[in-house]
């Protein structure tokens, strides 16, 4: 499965209530590094479809979630498990680095 889009409206349902861990990418159109990260996350989504959901949240359109989680830098990638934020990675990073940082949730 590829990445899904989430919004302030369905964040509870799609992220916090999810059975699987959800990796959320907070991004915006005007953020260069966010664009670089997109294909990396697409790959992670496809390769780990049975373990995690990879979701994208546009911070321009959805200020509530970004504010709730205190985001001041994007791209910001957070992992949510059982409704709780369990891991954070800031900045565009190569796939191998993200896999290592989130290894616990990709097993």
């Amino acid at each position: 499965m590829s990445t899904i889009d989430v919004t302030d409206q369905d964040f509870q349902e799609k992220v916090l209530n999810s059975d699987k861990p959800v990796l959320v990418d907070f991004w915006a159109e005007w953020c260069g590094p966010c664009r670089m990260l997109t294909p990396v996350l697409e790959e992670l989504a496809v390769e780990n479809a049975d373990k995690i959901t990879v979701a994208k949240l546009n911070v321009d359109d959805n200020p509530q979630a970004a504010s709730t989680y205190g985001i001041t830098s994007i791209p910001a990638v957070m992992v949510f498990k059982g409704g709780e934020k369990v891991a954070t990675s800031i900045g565009a990073k190569p796939k191998q680095v993200l896999e290592a940082e989130f290894a616990e949730y990709l097993k």
Binding site: P33, T72, P94
Partner: protein, 324 residues
């Protein structure tokens, strides 16, 4: 373009590591010399430092300026038009001591090549004060164009006195209520145009002769500790954001033990050529340049490197023919 990823036993003429103005200019020249260059562009760093900027106003040929990412996209297209191959992967290892040289990517693919151009650029310098890591992404940032948005109507600070610091400060005035520039000296290193623009801006104020000594807050940054370097006086400044623009360091980790470096930490080249201490290894752009570090100087040195590679390969082939 991905079939190249399989051809590990083929010995290429040249592999270019890096895809900023130096890497892509080298690729344009090498491709036009029929050297079939491979550019290992980086997975998330492709395009280099200009990908994080907005208006580039000083690159010749663009009288109205051009957006950094757009300029890099043009350079890439120009390189591929002449046959350069581009891979969005990261180099994790190089062996420059052998011939052919071996370049290994993060996915395990190995490329063998007679010549290598190192154009790995530089990485943002950190302040090295307590709290910097903890508040990274929670108030501390290295990318105004990415993160300025989150500081609407807030008081924020920029550390640094060069062109990039002024550019960040000016960009941030679009969002922030005030931008305080903190600089170690009592004058700016920035170009006069940028300095004048920042000094005249009503939202920007300056704290001179001062360094940041610490960062405070709970989950998010709330204030900075400052020290005046002339008087020793300590103070605090309440800000929710801190943008660090104090320069960058050459990215030499891949080759640190294989090519000679200068005392500034850059790759040593036999200026005005791009030859490093290892035959067949050339370097261009910010990774060789402690002084100028402009897109146009990087592009110029990329052009030099491609021509040096061309001459090197011709000489090697002549020697091989003579030996036969």
């Amino acid at each position: 373009m991905t079939e190249a990823a399989e051809s590990t036993d083929v010995v290429r003429d040249v592999v270019i590591i890096g895809s900023g103005p130096a890497g892509y200019t080298a690729a344009i020249y090498a491709a036009r010399a029929n050297l079939n260059p491979l550019v290992v562009a980086g997975s998330v760093t492709a395009g280099g430092e200009l990908m994080n900027t907005t208006d580039v106003e000083n690159f010749p040929g663009f009288p109205e300026g051009i957006m950094g990412p757009e300029l890099m996209s043009h350079l890439e297209k120009q390189a591929t038009r002449f046959g350069a191959e581009v891979l969005y992967e990261d180099v994790v290892n190089v062996d420059l001591t052998t011939d052919p040289k071996v370049v290994t990517l993060g996915n395990g693919t190995e490329f063998r090549s007679h010549a290598v151009i190192l154009a790995t650029g530089s990485a943002y310098r950190e302040l090295g004060v307590d709290g910097e890591k903890r508040f990274s992404g929670h108030g501390v940032s290295w990318c105004a164009t990415c993160d300025g948005f989150f500081f609407r109507d807030q008081n924020i600070a920029v550390v640094g006195g060069g062109d990039s610091a002024m550019e960040e400060a000016l960009f941030l005035t679009k969002f922030a209520s005030t931008v305080t520039v903190i600089h170690r000296r009592d004058e700016l290193r920035a170009s006069k145009t940028m300095a004048d623009r920042a000094l005249a801006h009503e939202k920007i104020n300056f704290v001179w002769d001062t360094e940041v000594t610490g960062l405070d807050g709970e989950d998010k940054l709330k204030s900075l500790g400052l020290r005046n370097l002339k008087t020793g006086a300590e103070s605090t400044l309440d800000v929710t954001g801190l943008f660090v623009a104090i320069g960058s360091d050459p990215r030499v980790d891949l080759v640190r033990d294989q090519v000679e470096l200068t005392d500034k930490g850059t790759i040593k080249v036999e200026y005005p050529s791009s030859r490093t201490s290892v035959p067949g290894v050339f370097a261009a752009g910010d990774v060789t340049d402690p002084t100028y570090r402009q897109a146009i100087t990087a592009a110029g040195s990329g052009c030099v490197a491609a021509q040096d590679v061309e001459h090197y390969l011709a000489d090697v082939k002549d020697l091989a023919a003579a030996a036969r």
